[in-house]
Symmetry: C2
Subunit: 221 residues, 2 copies
DNA sequence: CCAAAAGTGTTCTATGTACACCCATGC
DNA sequence: GCATGGGTGTACATAGAACACTTTTGG
């Protein structure tokens, strides 16, 4: 049986906002002193558990038992490139609210957030995977309103707009942004308000009854 | 090592036009006399060859050594559903020009085209996979001009329009269709014309230098 | 000359884009 | 009372949708 040669792994691209920058979670590789080489978190595929749950567990191991957005990205398997490396990698990507902290486990290597413009040296094809994940994130943001998945449960429209601007890399018009995001019907106002400098902001949250995917046209620009 | 329990397979959803209907290629299952049960073509994953090439070979085995559109669809692995069925299925979908014939191989079971409205009983989750592939095909057709992948090398704009109408299930305006498909810049006119009933039609073909994905907005409808 | 399919522009409507001022709070 | 971020509507430009007749060939 030939499959014994082939390794199957799940890897996850975990995006979050750290210090107002879009960041991704990476683990250091400690393979015979490879200095400064990092990789996407993941694990060998195990029987008895769905792929999605296995991806979810890989993430919960790092950020704890919280809810997050999770979606399959792509399955990589360039088994023709290197006879020594017969690995199939099923990649998921996740969006984690910015207020969630990394769990420190003693025996594991410490994961670390990297802003996407300041990535370290990455293992094998993880650079390509990350770039693809980022394209997909931007694409999803333009067409479906998933930006709030990177924010805490309650957030203001300005916070949401800043998130979009950060990820898409463009300035958005405040009035147009608000109109469209509200028309999309994915978020709803709450009684809460946030105090700070200036006028208090109305806080919004995700609507449970919202349709998962916005069939409509592109939202942003 | 746990992976020995897990089966890894490639499956392909092959779309083509047969008798002016969108059809999909299926193989009969001959597993201890299961009558009328069909499945998507595929094979066990082997080492040494990229996943895409393995999908391509699965298709070429049936339709011969022709070019076709091929794209990864999704990776299914509900390993939690049935302890006996620990299978991960990496699904590709392909578009085959309508003039290409099935190769008859003696020792293999005969594959067969089924119009998508008249599908037979399908194995395991292949019905779901097929429905997802169809959604993705319609989606791609709306946003990027891949419809010609289902036609022979040379085709008229009317043929292309009929293809779109068939798959999307809506009537399209002739003038708007032509304007948009030409503005997309994916096809170009050729000196050839097709004679038939009525006025001869200008024939078009795919432009080699066309950009793979149309970044633009939705094309249809 | 008639049948059959190919080919061709313009008007109207909807959507997207650009833009500037008032409001509520903390200090 | 002023500095700070929150909140609001309208006019214009562009893209999409609806629409009918002329052209070229074969029989």
């Amino acid at each position: 049986m030939q499959n014994q040669l082939i390794q199957m792994e799940i890897r996850v691209v975990i995006f979050s906002l750290k210090d107002s920058r879009l960041s991704v979670l990476l683990l250091p590789i400690q393979l015979e002193r490879l200095p400064g080489l990092w990789e996407l978190p993941g694990r060998e595929i195990q029987p008895g558990l769905s792929l999605e749950d296995q991806a979810g567990q890989s993430i919960q191991k790092i950020v704890g038992d919280r809810e997050f957005y999770l979606e399959q990205l792509y399955t990589y398997g360039d088994l023709d490139h290197n006879p020594e490396d017969q690995t199939i990698s099923i990649i998921y990507f996740a969006l984690i609210p910015s207020n969630i902290q990394i769990i420190q486990s003693k025996n594991a290597l410490a994961p670390c957030w990297f802003p996407i413009e300041e990535l370290p040296r990455l293992a094998t094809n993880h650079q390509d995977i990350l770039e693809y994940a980022l394209r997909r994130l931007r694409y999803k943001l333009e067409y479906s309103a998933v930006g709030f998945e990177l924010l805490p449960e309650f957030f203001s429209l300005s916070e949401l707009q800043h998130t979009y601007e950060l990820i898409l890399g463009v300035k958005l018009d405040k009035r147009n942004f608000r109109r469209r995001i509200l028309e999309a019907g994915v978020i709803e106002p709450t009684p809460q308000r946030r105090m700070g400098e200036g006028r208090p902001a109305q806080l919004y949250r995700y609507r449970d009854d919202a349709i998962a995917e916005v069939k409509a046209r592109r939202l942003f620009p």
